[in-house]
């Protein structure tokens, strides 16, 4: 049983080094409501920038989940939900889908979000007959996926002055990833994440050593 949400452990959980992805349940709606009603992030959810009622939100979520593949991302250390990844507008005829990624601000551009995307994209290519995945990123959100991930995608569109945010219009960038390119990009990201994790462990060990020496000295 998941301590945070009360949901049973999901049989569809995908566990990574930093983050776990699992299916969304109704017990997760409160955290989604919290994200949904952040007035700085309304553009992610609603082109009309409307704040829903609780009842309206639940109906919205039911509809969203029925029309997409959405997985909740949980931080492995704390078990806290940190965001979600979503495939929508899945087009089986032409073999592509759109990818939406949302992480709480403190987790953007970090290894947790990058690994969540890695796991999810791998899942999509492996389990749905996709040739291509798109993601639309407003220019003020560049870096959301980390430069490592975004650098491996090709830019196929720049929609000028597309989104109004913080007092002005921003371009929106369409990035694309073909299936053929994915294995190489995946390995590069995995290696980089692994190296980063090992480096973090070394830093932590060193810090603990320093603390230990300080304690001994005092």
């Amino acid at each position: 049983m998941n301590k945070l949400t009360g949901d049973p452990d999901s049989s569809t959980a995908h566990v990574g080094q930093f983050v776990t992805l699992r299916a969304v349940g109704r017990a997760d709606y409160p955290i989604f409501l919290q994200w949904r009603t952040d007035i700085k992030e309304l553009h992610v959810w609603s082109s009309a920038r409307l704040v829903p009622t609780v009842e309206g939100f639940e109906a919205e979520m039911d509809r969203l989940l029925s029309q997409s593949t959405t997985l909740l991302a949980l931080h492995n250390q704390s078990g806290e939900p940190i965001g979600f990844v979503q495939a929508y507008n899945i087009n089986p005829t032409d073999g592509w889908c759109m990818l939406r990624v949302y992480f709480a601000p403190e987790y953007r551009g970090r290894e947790t979000g990058i690994e969540a995307c890695l796991i999810f994209v791998d899942y999509l290519f492996a389990n749905i007959a996709l040739r291509k995945i798109y993601i639309d990123l407003p220019e003020f959100n560049r870096g959301l996926l980390g430069s490592m991930f975004e650098g491996g995608l090709s830019e196929e569109g720049r929609f000028r002055e597309h989104t109004w945010y913080e007092g002005r219009y921003w371009d929106s960038i369409r990035l694309a990833l073909f299936l053929e390119r994915w294995p190489e990009l995946r390995e590069r990201i995995r290696v980089t994440l692994q190296v980063g994790a090992e480096a973090a462990e070394l830093v932590t060990e060193k810090q603990e050593e320093e603390v230990g020496r300080t304690d001994v000295g005092s």
């Binding site: 920038r49 032409d94 592509w96 291509k132 196929e156 569109g157 597309h162 989104t163």
Partner: protein, 371 residues
């Protein structure tokens, strides 16, 4: 019943009206045609007419969908649709569909242009997108300068859609409000006349009215009076003097300054004689088409760099050898010098533009539509 439905746009060849439930069988027939499947808005998963009708009812709630009908007989020939309407960021997407029989008759372009005008006027949009498959770009050739002067390419989705056993790219175009305001008079008049001048129209073909409040009404009589009654007699093309090239540029710019859109249309659509028919050199319509494309291209680039449009002023053309040059000043932001070089047959073979200051543009034109 359908005769009581109001028209949103009444044009020369095509009119746009609201849909009714009586139109559903026609839409179902179009959707069932596998050759056009990929061109129509989707009502996926609808295997029966009843399911299709339900899905279309739901789609119409979320979109603005108008039926295109022949202006003379009122028969359905296609549709136009605005979807993903985003009033917060003030843009939407537009698609147009014409039945196969009507596709080469410029009806689609008239329906599309009329629909753009309606959307800009009544939804206060800043921008209209269209996603067009690469195999379906031919309609843009109907109006010279349409792509380079008005439509911006903002995306190319590589191998995006499956059609006829291969994957095709999809191009995302954008029409901006500012450029639309600059070009609407020309475009609306051009498409209402079906790309023809009055001399090519039969007497009952002239006319058409526009119901949109944003468009000033022109009576058929007014339209006819400003155009020649018949085409000038075609002359065998003779090499022309260099001064004729200068005269062509000068004349074009004068027409533009004076707002004589009909004369510009004539220059674009037919060869015209500069002097008397007995002696006159002929200005090729392709050359003037190039001028038009370049002119709109300069305007678009000026907008992109923030130059105020009303401050563009053109100097007098000057000749040097086989080159005609002209300088345009753009307010205080800089100048642009355009040079046209003519070949031995006095056709424009290349065009070069160099700018200074904040306005920098470089175009080379060599008998192909430039970008």
């Amino acid at each position: 019943m359908t005769s009581n439905i109001p028209y949103i746009y009444e044009g020369q060849q095509v009119s746009l009206r609201l849909l009714s439930t009586e139109d559903i069988p026609t839409l179902y027939q179009w959707r069932a045609d596998w050759r056009s499947f990929v061109l129509l808005p989707a009502a996926d998963g609808a295997s029966t007419r009843e399911e299709f009708a339900k899905k279309w009812q739901a789609m119409i709630q979320r979109t603005i969908t108008l039926l295109a009908v022949g202006a003379r007989d009122g028969q359905p020939i296609g549709l136009v649709q605005a979807y993903d309407i985003n009033l917060a960021d003030r843009w939407c997407f537009v698609l147009s569909y014409m039945t196969e029989q009507r596709r080469s008759q410029r009806m689609g372009i008239e329906a599309t242009v009329g629909f753009w005008d309606y959307l800009f006027a009544h939804l206060n949009l800043r921008k209209i997108y269209s996603d067009v498959s690469e195999f379906n770009l031919g309609w843009m050739n109907a109006i010279p300068g349409l792509e380079s002067g008005l439509l911006g390419r903002e995306g190319r989705f590589v191998q995006h859609t499956l059609h006829d056993n291969q994957y095709w790219d999809v191009i995302r175009f954008a029409v901006y409000r500012e450029l639309w305001q600059e070009t609407r008079d020309f475009l609306l008049t051009f498409v209402r006349l079906g790309g023809k001048t009055a001399g090519q129209l039969k007497p009952d073909e002239a006319g058409g009215s526009l119901d949109s409040a944003a468009i000033p009404h022109r009576s058929p009589e007014t339209a006819m009076r400003s155009l020649p009654a018949r085409l000038p007699k075609q002359r065998r093309r003779r090499p022309r003097s260099q001064s004729a090239n200068v005269e062509a540029v000068r004349r074009y710019l004068r027409y533009e300054r004076e707002g004589r859109i009909d004369e510009i249309m004539r220059m674009v659509s037919e060869d015209i004689a500069l002097d008397t028919p007995a002696t006159g050199p002929v200005v090729g319509k392709e050359d003037v088409g190039n001028l038009l494309r370049f002119r709109y291209g300069v305007r678009r680039r000026a907008i992109e760099t923030g130059a105020p449009m009303h401050e563009i002023s053109w100097g007098q053309p000057e000749e040097t050898g086989d080159t005609v040059q002209i300088v345009a000043s753009v307010g205080h932001t800089g100048t642009i010098r355009i040079s046209w070089a003519f070949n031995s047959e006095n056709k424009i073979r290349s065009m070069l533009a160099e700018g200074s200051g904040e306005l920098m543009a470089r175009y080379v034109l060599s008998n192909t539509p430039f970008e």
